[in-house]
């Protein structure tokens, strides 16, 4: 008796019935697939497989980009493109009209430029500090320390939290009658207007964002550190190379591909900052923490006169920045691969 027949007998009557139905169902696509293989050959068959994904990509990625361009070139408050008058580059011109780009208050749309500058400063501080802290944390967690698994989990845990939850937790800590001020008063110090002072509020948005996302980047760097062969460090130890030199000459160059990934991912994410800050400060005090995406949201959805065209034009400018960052990542990755 063959093995298949024996297995068939072991299944019993219901098992055989279920297996038969299952096998028949599995055979259903076989005929059309054979037909497609015979007709399309290998060159075109690939399109059949990527086709569904291309349709999804076209519908949910490419089409929205096209719609965004249409909205950016039209005005009015109507949502349907057919009802929107063509205004050409008027929306872009309105956003870019400025006497002095360094002073948002001199620009026609000052809120946009507050958003641009706030985002630029945020990216600079948040990305820079996050990479430093992530690297330092990864280096520590890569060592044989007590409770290493526990600490790895602790640093990664905030990544699992919803941005709204993160922002609410910190809001309760930082508000005037919050936990932090209560602690300060407990030790006899004066309370601080953490979210009312523009500099403090900006600093806290940077800090909270780093706190929430650092675990993810630490994980990438940790994986990079663990991929570095141990024998290189053993050779360095035999040569009595000082630890600082080991870090700068061995660890950092070998970690560079991972650092590049972290840099670009962090940059893209920082440019898109919205949810945590929206809940934590609402963009205040004044416009001190109004970032670019919040400007887009306010312009398109939070005003009585919904200026979808202006919001779309700002989105296009943001997309251009993200495109440059993505191309930079691709270039750097290729350059890094060529260097070996």
């Amino acid at each position: 008796m063959s093995g298949a027949a024996a297995r068939n007998r072991e299944r019993g009557p219901f098992g055989r019935l279920a297996w038969g139905a299952y096998a028949a169902a599995m055979d259903l696509p076989e005929r059309p697939m054979r037909w497609a293989q015979a007709r399309l050959r290998d060159g075109r068959l690939g399109w059949l497989f990527v086709g569904p994904n291309l349709i999804v990509f076209g519908l949910f990625t490419f089409l929205p980009i096209l719609i965004d361009v249409v909205f950016a070139l039209t005005g009015g408050t109507a949502l349907l493109p057919s009802q929107r008058p063509f205004v050409g580059t008027q929306n872009l011109a309105q956003l870019l009209a400025c006497k002095n780009y360094l002073h948002p208050s001199s620009c026609y749309d000052d809120q946009f430029w507050y958003g641009v500058w706030n985002t630029a400063w945020f990216v600079l501080f948040q990305v820079g500090l996050m990479i430093v802290f992530s690297l330092a944390t990864a280096l520590v967690l890569n060592r044989k320390i007590i409770g290493r698994g526990f600490f790895r989990a602790v640093f990664f845990y905030p990544v699992l939290l919803s941005p709204v939850v993160v922002a609410l937790i910190w809001k309760w800590m930082l508000q005037r009658f919050g936990v932090l001020n209560a602690a300060l008063q407990g030790v006899g110090a004066h309370p601080v207007d953490w979210l009312l002072n523009a500099h403090w509020a900006f600093g806290w948005t940077v800090f909270v964002s780093i706190w929430a996302h650092m675990g993810f980047y630490t994980l990438i760097l940790l994986a990079g550190l663990q991929a570095i062969p141990r024998d290189i460090y053993e050779a360095a130890a035999m040569d009595a190379t000082p630890p600082g030199r080991v870090f700068w000459r061995l660890t950092l160059p070998l970690l560079m591909p991972n650092l590049l990934v972290v840099l670009v991912l962090a940059l893209i994410r920082a440019v898109q900052i919205f949810d945590e800050v929206f809940v934590l400060t609402g963009g205040g005090p004044g416009s001190a923490t109004t970032y670019l995406v919040e400007f887009i949201y306010n312009t398109g959805f939070a005003q009585q006169v919904r200026q979808y065209g202006l919001a779309s034009a700002a989105s296009l400018l943001l997309a251009a920045v993200l495109l440059v960052l993505t191309l930079t990542q691709l270039g750097l990755t290729r350059w890094s691969a060529k260097r070996g």
Binding site: L79, P85, F278, G286, R306
Partner: protein, 436 residues
């Protein structure tokens, strides 16, 4: 023997899953239509207190009279009404009825109920002035919704703190300057963090500004927000925020959008809270007997002693497939016994002319009833400018830019003259966009 291969399995399983999902979607879409009522009315509703629950309860009476209609009240946060509803309506996918306050943003999507109502004259007689707020212009005579309440802005005061500080409550003709001085004195004597807080809203600011002479419109009727009266109140308000008389967090620490200061008042952190009559249920339930609270008449200025009128309405929406049922449901709610029950159970001031004269039995405490009487009396002292501003189609543009630009001035980001210039340019720019 057939042996399933993995590649085929990989294609077949997702394929079957998609087919199953499609079948489920089909069933979910078409099955209820067979089983359910002939008409299902979806009502998008937000609550200040218990409004949506009361409407749902009252809808049962309507359903008994109209067994072929089912009313579903979908309770949503207020922010969804202001941000999501207009987008849904623009995309042609809104509810049948919605409870709204911003009639300008939803104006072009409103269903004219007049031809569908059995007695439109009753509506005009009872709700006449408020129906104007929902209209698109002086030539528009449509009836677009049922006013669910008339609201009046005005201050609530923590009387216990005044008594503890041994400071008398300023009289009915006291100015905002008198009140600012009094609450600062009380706050200092009782070590209360702040004298007062105003909801972060240009609507709340408008009452005091009109009292100090702001007119909001030029002689030709076009909006002209910044004038000496507006500047008089704006400069005072910014100064009070900066010297600690007003709780700065409410306006300055919020980037954009609305924020109320109820929690500060309920927690005893302020002496005076400028909000409005819609807070009565919350005051009664959440503050209760924690301290003695009273509503006081709107403080005066050189020009008036006014607050701002306002209100919400249940409006019918053009996209509905059941316009007759929408009109029938709103007409049911508008009839005096039902409307009276609605007002009494939600503790709201009626927009109906005959009920404004009748004595209603609210389920409020003695303090709540006393406060309600103060708001009812405040209706008499409302300035015509306040009514005109409330009825202006783009009033939210004025209110939003006022709040945002003054908040920037309070935060020290721009000066007051810069804020005035930006209020004027924001208004110009947004009105131009609206006309495109």
């Amino acid at each position: 023997m057939i042996r399933p291969n993995l590649a085929v399995l990989g294609l077949a399983v997702p394929g079957l899953a998609v087919l199953g999902l499609a079948a489920l979607t089909f069933a979910a879409t078409f099955a209820p239509a067979v089983a359910a009522h002939a008409a299902e009315l979806r009502v998008m509703c937000y609550s200040d207190g218990n409004e949506c629950a009361v409407y749902a309860d009252l809808a049962k009476g309507f359903e008994k009279q109209h067994p072929d209609v089912q009313v579903r009240i979908d309770t949503v946060p207020y922010a969804q009404i202001t941000t999501s509803l207009p987008v849904q309506l623009a995309a042609g996918h809104g509810p049948d009825i919605a409870r709204v306050t911003d009639f300008g943003a939803t104006g072009k999507y409103l269903l004219d109920l007049r031809p569908l109502l059995p007695d439109a004259a009753y509506w005009t007689r009872e709700f006449g002035p408020v129906l104007d707020w929902m209209r698109q212009g002086p030539k528009d005579t449509g009836i677009y919704g049922l006013p669910t309440q008339l609201t009046i802005t005005g201050p609530f005061v923590d009387k216990t703190l005044f008594e503890q500080a041994n400071v008398p409550l300023p009289g009915p003709k006291a100015t905002w300057d008198d009140w600012a001085a009094a609450v600062a004195k009380v706050a200092k004597a009782t070590q209360t963090p702040f004298g007062m807080a105003w909801d972060r809203s240009g609507h709340r600011f408008a009452g005091p500004a009109i009292s100090y002479g702001a007119r909001y419109f030029a002689a030709d009727g076009t909006p002209a927000v910044v004038d000496p009266g507006f500047e008089a109140m704006a400069s005072r308000f910014v100064k009070w925020n900066q010297d600690g008389t007003v709780e700065k967090d409410i306006w300055a620490a919020t980037g954009t959008g609305y924020r109320d200061a109820f929690a500060s008042f309920a927690n005893g952190q302020i002496v005076l809270y400028l909000s409005g009559s819609w807070q009565l249920t919350r005051m009664d339930k959440q503050v209760g007997n924690s301290f003695d609270w009273v509503a006081v008449p709107n403080p005066c200025g050189p020009a008036a002693c006014t607050g701002m009128p306002g209100g919400a309405a249940l409006v019918g929406l053009k996209g509905t497939k059941h316009p007759k049922s929408v009109a029938a449901f709103l007409d049911y709610l508008a009839q005096q016994p039902v409307y009276q029950a609605m007002m009494e159970r939600t503790s709201n001031i009626p927009a109906s002319a005959s009920l404004q004269k009748a004595s209603l039995h609210y389920g409020l405490s003695a303090a709540g009833n006393a406060a309600l009487q103060v708001f009812l009396q405040s209706v008499q002292s409302l300035s015509p400018i306040a009514y005109h501003l409330q009825g202006y189609k783009y009033n939210q543009v004025i209110f939003n830019t006022t709040a945002n630009r003054l908040a920037q001035a309070i935060a020290g980001q721009i000066t007051l003259p810069q804020a005035y210039a930006r209020i004027a340019s924001d208004l110009r720019q947004q009105l131009a966009a609206a006309k495109q």
